[in-house]
Amino acid sequence: MSTAVGSLTIPRPHAERTGLLVWVASVDHKQIGIMYMLAALVFFSLGGIEALLMRIQLAVPNNHFLNPDTFNQLFTVHGTTMIFFVAMPMLAGMTAYMVPLMIGAKDVAFPRLNALSFWVMLFGGILFYLSFFTGGASNAGWFAYTPLSEPGFSSTNGVTYWICGLLAAGVGTVTGAINMIVTIIKLRAPGMTIRRVPLFIWMTLVNSFLMLAALSVLNAALVMLLIDRQFNAQVFAPAFGGSAMLWQHYFWGFGHPEVYIVILPSFGMISEVIPVFARKPIYGYEFVAGSTVAIAFLSFGVWAHHMFTVGMGTVLDLFFGAMSMTIAVPTGVKIFNWTATLFHARIRFTTAMLFAIGFILTFTMGGLTGITFAVVPIDYQLTDTYYLVAHFHYTLFGGTVLAIFAGFYYWFPKISGRMLSERIGRWHFWLTLIGFHTTFLVQHFLGLMGMPRRVFTYPDLPGWGLLNMISTIGAFILLASVVALVLNLYVSLTAGEAAGDNPWDAWTLEWATTSPPPPENFTRVPPVHGRRPLWDLAHPELNDERVAAAAEA
């Protein structure tokens, strides 16, 4: 007995084959999506523990809780984990689960490739963490600047494991991107033109092209660093004619598009959540979609704003400063669009919506400090300080993580068939928001007070100890928030209220099937005549496109 998915026939598991084997052998996008999300949650816990250990060490000046090398390994592994093994897999999982459903397809274009993407990412993460047991993890920072990451200055194989783990995970990212592009281009339901796709789909499409372009840059850099390390070459070793700056250009040529890679899907999720809980469409779909394309192109022209202090010269500094200012515009206008969606709305403060609003507040703050960095001379003072650490946590945590929580509370009912507890959800939200701002708001001030980043301890200068202690307390509040999340998951999966097909009365196709969906996703895909197929089904005379056309006439 088998079920046909696209052109591939998947054998249905026999009744006796239950449990783990079904999951390990699965090529169903929904199961792969869940595995991605579970793996990301595990790595999130590891990354969080690394952060807590660092915050304990930094709670008081001149602390001896951790020795310098351990601390350096921790911040390297924390950064690498959160980006490559938490944010990207979590988003990949939500994407893998939701994209086929939102476009009315049975699965992705290449289901087996989808499985490969997951397993190779997991392999990369395990390989990377193995380094803790083989002499020490990488201690050269998540961006592994040379010559510090070259053999002459690293005494363990940690950096090599870092390289190999990322090469493996990168294969997963690229294959995932290819899969998503082909899926979105070729498998949309009839009637769903590219201008009618949900914004999450649009963001995924653009983001996938970003992944193709950016990961290839990282791969080039990684293989050359690997050759330097394993074969004693000198590509990035200035002492022998190589160039340390070249590594930075290559790494940030990947690294900057990378931050957009983790924020675009987040923008997509926020663009889904806010309209549903405001009960009206997103304000300015075209601008939100168009500005995303602008961001994708511009993201390849700003990379050296991570290098303003390396001495590229005033001309290049100003060029990249101008480009970075420019990219603030398409990013910023989205904030106006989301805020405008809240006007004349009927806002329901579900936990998903709370996280979405928290996202707007927090990500905006992060974006604004980003603009201060685009003002080149300010960067000259504040880069590589705790002000920078605050900035990127505001955008990465306040941005990506809060958006993931919003999307999670929104889509959990569809994935599991059960509602998450709104009561525990509120605790989760407030603990997260308070914990986050307590931890990171004070770090802006630490940077302004001269505290550099990546230091295992600091002198007892006035104010440094107090602000660091506050930051550490915030980290423990965040720990409590994660406990709330896990508790919510447990309580809801075991005894949560049944969700039904469309608990939020939302409008996109994933809500037109059961929760969770059957293996082939839909028994019948509704007709698509606009951006909100389920709205059209409920209000045939109020089809968005017809209404908009009439308004213009």
Binding site: A244, T309, T314, A374, V375, P377, G450, V455, P459
Partner: protein, 310 residues
């Protein structure tokens, strides 16, 4: 001394940057307040109430969206103009080539050379107050970064890639800074101290630094001088008069004139120096200074020798 060092500029370059920062923050705060006000207004006014009707399904307004995009472009363009003029003002010209000062970052100490006078010292940068100096910043091993917030911008020290900055302190005083690019285990303790002095004081400091300290005649210091040679300290540390020009560790010729040890990891006192020589890891764990397993007696002799190096 203000704790808000980046906002407490004591040099023309730092003033330029601080003004730009304050201006930028004001503009962005206004924008932020606007967004927050609108958001708060909306979530209060348009929250769901029992019996409320389905809201009007509006899709956007091309005019409004173009308007706020244009507004954002204007703000950004204005910031760019100020950015450009400030950047040009704080940086030396591209063809800068005659340094007043040369600073070389090592793991984890700073080598400071004065090309005009030939003085070579470590970790404590003395400069004449009120004068703008052109500084050549380099690195001997990995990437470091020279940053004294009250005196201006930071600049990376990159091996084989000299960088140029202006360094100026408006008035005499002591200014603290730090290495600001992760450079290995002791990055946290690669601190910087800039001592700006009146021209007269600076000149006498320079003269004293150029002097070769006399070899100690007898007693503990003489025993220490001998140990310095025998225990191979001389292979890493230069002391004028001993024939060593090694640069693996800091130049110690006038070490007892400095305020701190181990580039800011400890104050320079006989006790701290004793601790350092007895067990470097107790002050700066994982630094490159080996533990020579010296006896207390030997350490006392070395301390006597080094303390005499004025």
């Amino acid at each position: 001394m203000s704790v808000w060092v980046t906002l407490h500029p004591l040099s023309p370059g730092a003033v330029t940057i601080e003004r730009l920062f304050v201006g930028t923050v004001v503009v962005l705060s206004v924008l932020f307040a606007l967004v927050v006000a609108l958001g708060v207004y909306a979530i209060i006014k348009y929250r769901d109430r029992p019996g409320a009707a389905e809201p009007a399904q509006e899709f956007g307004s091309r005019r409004l969206e173009i308007g706020w995009t244009a507004g954002a472009i204007v703000v950004v363009a204005a910031l760019m103009v100020f950015t450009a003029s400030a950047t040009i003002a704080v940086n030396p010209p591209a063809d800068a080539n005659k340094p007043d000062l040369r600073i070389v970052g090592h793991q984890w100490w700073w080598e400071i050379d004065y090309p005009d006078s030939g003085v070579m010292t470590a970790n404590e940068v003395h400069i004449p107050a009120g004068k703008r100096l052109l500084v050549d910043v380099e690195a001997a091993d990995v990437i470091h970064d020279f940053w004294v917030p009250e005196l201006g911008r930071k600049i990376d020290a990159i091996p084989q890639h000299p960088n140029w900055i202006y360094l100026q302190a408006d008035r005499p005083g002591t200014y603290l800074g730090t290495c600001a690019e992760f450079c290995g285990p002791e990055h946290a303790w690669m601190r910087i101290m800039v001592v700006a002095q009146d021209q007269a004081d600076f000149d006498s400091w320079q003269t004293a630094q150029r002097a070769v300290p006399p070899a100690p005649g007898s007693g503990l210091a003489a025993a220490g001088a001998q140990l310095f040679r025998e225990q191979t300290c001389i292979n890493c540390h230069a002391i004028a008069g001993t024939g060593s020009t090694a640069k693996v560790g800091p130049d110690l010729t006038h070490i007892s004139t400095r305020q701190t040890l181990a580039s800011g990891a400890a104050i320079n006192s006989a006790d701290e120096l004793f601790k350092w020589l007895k067990d470097p890891d107790s002050i700066k764990p994982q630094s490159h200074m080996p533990n020579f397993q010296l006896s207390n007696e030997q350490v006392t002799e070395l301390v006597a020798y080094l303390e005499a190096l004025k």
